[in-house]
Symmetry: C2
Subunit: 376 residues, 2 copies
């Protein structure tokens, strides 16, 4: 048995589903057709009752577990969670990863070619919402012949999608795992998003979102956005422990890299700016900003959850200042107001918002225990 | 009595002191000559024992109190603190405000003309430190014939200067008021500075710091830096109370201003980018990064404060996540280790780091009480 296949889903490949029926978006626009790229791990059982959908966050995608080739350096972004005998056990569950609409990894988005036109969508790609994503994901389930999900799981922006699934499709969801998430963003969170977007939009290479036609990308702006993002993903303490005030070398009194943390941020910014699409980044942050299921209910989240039927596991992390435990508790309270079945875990973790992606033993034990009792 | 003169220092004017003796900087460079622009309020007494120096923070300057003309819309940046019968009472004290070296309000800095050359310093202006500022401020005291300060006062980066005064010139300082400050920056604080600098430096209009010669300014980068700064000056709760998720209008599903907070941030960013010098901003943030008096003492702040003689008032604010109360307590502990006289107040305040500039009644009462007992 090779290294990769031990507790791994192994070599995986992505598939594309094409949808020809128009999708009406929350902003009123209609997407006449679209593609969703997805991966699956494990086997769908005969009664099609063991499907679990993974919803991704800001920069995530459908490649959640496994590798495309033995030689791949990195596995999918939640590979530590998903596989045979892992907390989300692919011996039991059929797991689906999907790239969201407006993404940049194969699903229809600003950087994909608009059918018939042979040109990229660019700025004309709609500003989609969490609600739109969930509706498009429901189409994917239809395509796969799956009526009901054993569970929907997501962290951060993915947790908002998991929550929205239970609101929009109460009869199609048995369990929702909402991790390091919130029922809406705080003003501070939205402010960070706004700075990130402004860095991109005011980059001279942005060309109002139609940079593809100019054979360029707003690399500088996207780099700044990502550097800023990384600060908010880590806790102050985690940054302190990881980097502190450690110098790369003797102080040079310059604006070059002096401290190790600067080197880390620049590396992360450069890497991301070379891989990710700026128009996707803009849309992901806007989806975060807009999501607020309580808004149509006078700000009353309990009312917004009135039709929900799913059972919930809500998880937060003590050092997460982006989606703090307080925000998870708001979700828990509103679920309990509706007499729903909720488990809540507040995990002591140093790593801030990023903790939801990490294989913390206590955290994974909680997910494992919860998923073991999910009936399929 | 006009409105302006009630409890106000009234109409003020700035003066410039020129220094011809070279100043050796911490980075090894020598500034052969320099100017400092300053203002004074109140009267220096015969024994010259009532002088108080105000040290400014990142974007501050020498215009601390009063107005230049009755028609001025705004008074100096700490006008709520300083004036006849105000907490820092100009009936008792002779107050000095000074613009730091590398500033952009009249003291020698990147945007000023290098003597003889008729060209701006631009990128050639040195990267100065808190220690350099204090040394240059000591020259200003010499120029004014003041040997000893009754007090030195500063908030944030200004507090670092106040602390440094007590280390570098223990015999010239009776009292130090160190407000909303820290003995060094955390990795997270430095990370925000790095993102701000990278936004400026990667702006195509930056021209390696010599944008003056190109008749332009890196406005986009400076705007992003300032927007980011504003998020860190306010607490999450203060942003929540001030803006929350309030919309400007109906949601438009766009990247334009949708939420009130976005409008505020853009306004602050635009205003600052039109007024402040980017090269100054870079240098102010680097001075913050580098300040770390414990570094030469194996990280032991108590040892760094061994020669200090001043009495201290240290003030922090509960909601300040940029310079948290924990950081002020580190200063207090190190002072107490040296058996110095220290008063410490942790003020309950909503407004985050910005609280040090606000006329909170409890905060001002503490400053008033402390300054009343300062003997002159």
């Amino acid at each position: 048995m090779s290294e990769i296949s031990r507790n791994s889903v192994g070599i995986v490949s992505a598939q594309t589903a094409h949808f020809d029926a128009p999708l009406t978006l929350k902003n009123g626009e209609i997407l006449p057709q679209f593609d969703l790229v997805y991966e699956t791990y494990g086997e769908l059982n005969a009664s099609k009752s063991n499907a679990v959908l993974i919803c991704h966050a800001l920069s995530g995608n459908h490649h959640v577990a496994g590798k495309y080739a033995e030689t791949d350096k990195n596995a999918g972004w939640w590979d530590n969670l998903i596989g045979p005998n892992k907390p989300l056990d692919t011996n039991k569950f059929f797991v689906i990863g999907v790239n969201n609409l407006a993404g940049c990894h194969g699903s229809s988005g600003p950087s994909s070619i608009r059918p018939k036109s042979k040109k990229t969508y660019g700025s004309s790609f709609p500003i989609v919402t969490v609600e739109d994503w969930v509706n498009s994901q429901a189409r994917l389930l239809d395509h796969l012949g799956i009526e009901t999900l054993a569970a929907v799981i997501g962290g951060s922006l993915g947790g908002m999608q998991a929550l929205q699934w239970t609101i929009a499709y109460p009869d199609r969801i048995k369990h929702a795992l909402v991790i390091a998430s919130a029922p809406n963003l705080t003003a501070q969170n939205m402010a960070f998003n706004e700075v990130a977007r402004q860095a991109i939009i005011t980059d001279p290479e942005f060309y109002d979102g139609d940079y593809y036609a100019h054979n360029t990308v707003p690399r500088r702006g996207l780099r700044i956005a990502r550097m800023l993002g990384h600060i908010t993903y880590l806790s102050d303490d985690a940054m302190g422990e990881k980097f502190g005030r450690k110098l790369k070398d003797k102080i040079k009194y310059s604006f070059d890299v002096e401290f190790e943390m600067e080197s880390y941020l620049r590396y992360q910014g450069d890497k991301f700016a070379g891989e990710f699409d700026a128009n996707t980044y803009l849309r992901m942050t806007r989806a975060l900003d807009y999501y607020d299921p309580a808004l149509e209910h006078g700000g009353d989240l309990s009312k917004a959850l009135k039709k929900v039927k799913a059972e919930f596991l809500v998880v937060s992390f003590t050092s997460d200042w982006r989606f703090s435990p307080d925000r998870s508790r708001e979700i828990v309270k509103a679920l309990l107001d509706n007499e729903l079945t909720v488990s809540y875990a507040e995990v002591t973790a140093l790593h801030g918002h990023d903790a939801f992606l990490m294989p913390d033993a206590h955290y994974h034990a909680i997910l494992r225990a919860y998923l073991q009792k999910v009936e399929v």
